[in-house]
Symmetry: C2
Subunit: 114 residues, 2 copies
Amino acid sequence: MTEVNIQVWAVDALGALAHETRLAVFRMLVTAGPDGMIAGTIAESAKVPPSTMSHHLATLERAGLVQSERESRLIHYRADYEGMSRLLTFLMKDCCQGAPDMCADIFASISCNG
Amino acid sequence: MTEVNIQVWAVDALGALAHETRLAVFRMLVTAGPDGMIAGTIAESAKVPPSTMSHHLATLERAGLVQSERESRLIHYRADYEGMSRLLTFLMKDCCQGAPDMCADIFASISCNG
DNA sequence: ACCATAATTCCAGAAATTTCGAAATATTGG
DNA sequence: CCAATATTTCGAAATTTCTGGAATTATGGT
């Protein structure tokens, strides 16, 4: 993926997360782990009509941040860790160049333990 | 900042970056370093009218991603590394819990050297 | 005081996003 | 095949965002 294209994609991904409901859903899915959640349950948890949630989930999926898989009548949605990783890496790349200390700070503040 | 409030802020910050021009400008400012850039130069570089750019810069500043400072007739804009750090940390927190391996992958792929 | 420069704010039209009920599609069970 | 359930797609109104010319504010030089 060329530099210009990844930036176009990043705008989409950021836009997908730039919405109260969608960000909440995405975080929920990340926390839910690899099994993900059923579409209906997601809508119920977020207190929005199924139709509305369907649009939001489609937006997240188009942006490559979630994946869906049908299992009989239910549709499972799970976070796409690779997409998220790509986004975070993209955002950090420039920061690490412009502000060498910043990445270190972030690494320290997270340390992958919470 | 409470959990719910940081998420509200995060939506704003993500929305600020979810625009082709604004993302390009933000990355430019990060790369430019602590001295930042003059408003007019930014508009010129991005090939948008000063008025339009002023709106975009205000959006980024409201979101806490850039800072401005007047120096005589010129206004310097610089990336707000603390804001960016807060956003990246926020996004990573959930990921590190839901996908313990993911943060490690990101750390490896960056390693703060480019 | 006046003029020139730099940038913002005002304004309003254009474009995109958000919302959700109703209708359509997909799947299973009887 | 028919009914029930899960979800998406359609459609259209409401809201928000984006854009940029014109007017305004701020600063410095002569």
